[in-house]
């Protein structure tokens, strides 16, 4: 059984419908990618999963349990970490405080994330612990927002556009950090427009268009079928 299963998600913001029946599965420890242009529904899919914008129709099954419609804090406590597109660091809290407020104990027997482990993964954050979140660079904020969700000891990470607006070298570092996380057994749902990032990390790619998944395949398959990419991703 898949760890996370999205079944036929329909989601709207008020009267404007954004998702039209999105379905996919995430196996424990795997990384699936949602790719597509701006506005196709990647972020809305993420928000539907964490519960910030609950789907009006469809199911989200997490470790065998129906979680669509639960409050975001309940979903988060069940083991899903959310790394939003715009990072949403608390600007007036220090780096350490941003981490501290997200702290939640791991399940017994699992290796737990605390600030020491987080600083091992993102050493840059350690030196700026007492700096306010609002003054960090884009790269530092992205590291912090991932680190922050790790403090809650999730078993799956919703990673929305992590490479957006970052310099290529920072993106490269970030990709290696995310790879480390994946190799540690963390499942990942990755929404990205940076194709290199996606092809390097994901096990399955889903291309979205107008609120639907229009293509699913492995990264290798995508590499061999550039026409699919050209059709769906170029403007």
């Amino acid at each position: 059984m898949a760890q996370l299963e999205a079944r036929n998600l329909h989601t709207s913001y008020g009267l404007s419908r954004v998702l039209f029946g999105v379905s996919f599965e995430v196996e424990q420890g795997s990384c699936i990618a949602l790719i597509g242009r701006n506005g196709v529904g990647k972020t809305t899919t993420m928000r539907s999963l964490i519960g910030l914008t609950p789907p009006s129709e469809g199911e989200v099954v997490w470790e065998g349990r129906q979680i669509a419609g639960l409050a975001p804090h309940t979903v988060a406590k069940l083991g899903i970490g959310f790394v939003p597109e715009d990072r949403r660091i608390f600007p007036e809290l220090t780096v350490w405080e941003n981490l501290d407020i997200a702290r939640r104990p791991a399940e017994p027997g699992r290796q737990a994330w605390g600030e020491d482990e987080v600083f091992d993964l993102f050493p840059d954050l350690k030196d700026i612990q007492s700096r306010a979140g609002g003054v960090l660079s884009g790269g530092q904020q992205q590291m912090l927002t991932i680190a922050r969700s790790l403090m809650g000891n999730p078993r799956l990470l919703l990673l929305d556009e992590p490479s957006e607006g970052l310099a290529p070298r920072v993106v490269e570092t970030l990709r290696e950090r995310v790879r480390t996380l994946k190799e540690s057994g963390l499942s990942i749902v990755l929404a990205e427009q940076n194709l290199g990032f996606v092809l390097a990390l994901s096990d399955t790619c889903h291309i979205m268009e107008k609120g639907e998944i229009v293509y699913s395949g492995t990264p290798d398959h995508l590499r061999e079928n550039r026409d699919v990419l050209d059709r769906h991703l170029t403007l």
């Binding site: 964490i50 519960g51 910030l52 409050a71 975001p72 804090h73 988060a76 406590k77 959310f82 939003p84 949403r88 608390f90 600007p91 007036e92 809290l93 405080e97 501290d100 407020i101 997200a102 939640r104 306010a132 609002g134 922050r148 969700s149 809650g152």
Partner: protein, 314 residues
Amino acid sequence: MDSLIQFAQQDLGNPGLAALLSNPSFAFIQLMNSFSQAMNLFIIAAGLSLIFGVLRVINFAHGAFYMFGAYIVYSVAQEWTGNFWLGVAAAGLGLAVMAVVIERGLFQYIYDKEHLMQLLLTFAVVLILSDVAKIIWGTDQYSVSYPASMKGAVDLGVTFYPTYRLFLIVVGPAIAIGLWLFTERTRFGRLTRAATQDREMLSALGVNVPIIYTGVFILGSVLAGIGGGLAAPFNSPTPGMDATIIVDCFVIVIVGGLGSIWGSFIGAIIYGLVFNYGSVIVPNWQDVFPFLILLAVLLVRPWGLFGKPEGGNA
């Protein structure tokens, strides 16, 4: 100096100003009165400011909470036990219970609503509570004795000054520091600051934000209750005392900057100084002072002394 006093007395015809200039201990007493009044107001205003800072709700019922604090002290200290401190503790506890009922029962439903809706609901609570108070305590004016250990006055060298009012001057800064430590140094305080900045993100991190809101509402309301309790010996519990205090508190909180503890602290001191010295110099203008302060600050800094401009990021 003598010519100045004479100028005040004869040319300006202002005996109050002349007394301030000629009598140092009289001037000093006004200073101490300013501080003791300011510190009592600060305790109440800080609660209002804290609640607005986190919940973004302007709670007009805060004045009624203060009035209930004063009445509870009267009942517990004066009528039942004779122990003033027990009365103040009961006022704090009573307001905590009222806060839970009102926040869970009513206010939690209006956080996402427009301001007018919030205004109407909190105002409805004001009307209900003032009638409830009349049902319980009637319309009499009650007097509450000073605590036994704090009757009399202390010799400050320049002059004698009432012990209880000195106590208020000390307790205000203690509460300010306590509140500051709470928001800066405790995890619950950090969570409240995070909730102020991005409520949705905080919930996505697994934090049950409504519980934080309830906690902050309790804390702010307990401050109103304790403030009312401590005021009872010199502000006799009586109907209508809620309306007076809420105006003073709004002036202080807006002058200091909504949501800022130290802003309320400084705002309260400015209020105390202007009110007390102003009352001596131009007694007829007493009722106008709060609004003059408000006007002066709003003209220069519309967001208050310690506040931040609306929409501005840190």
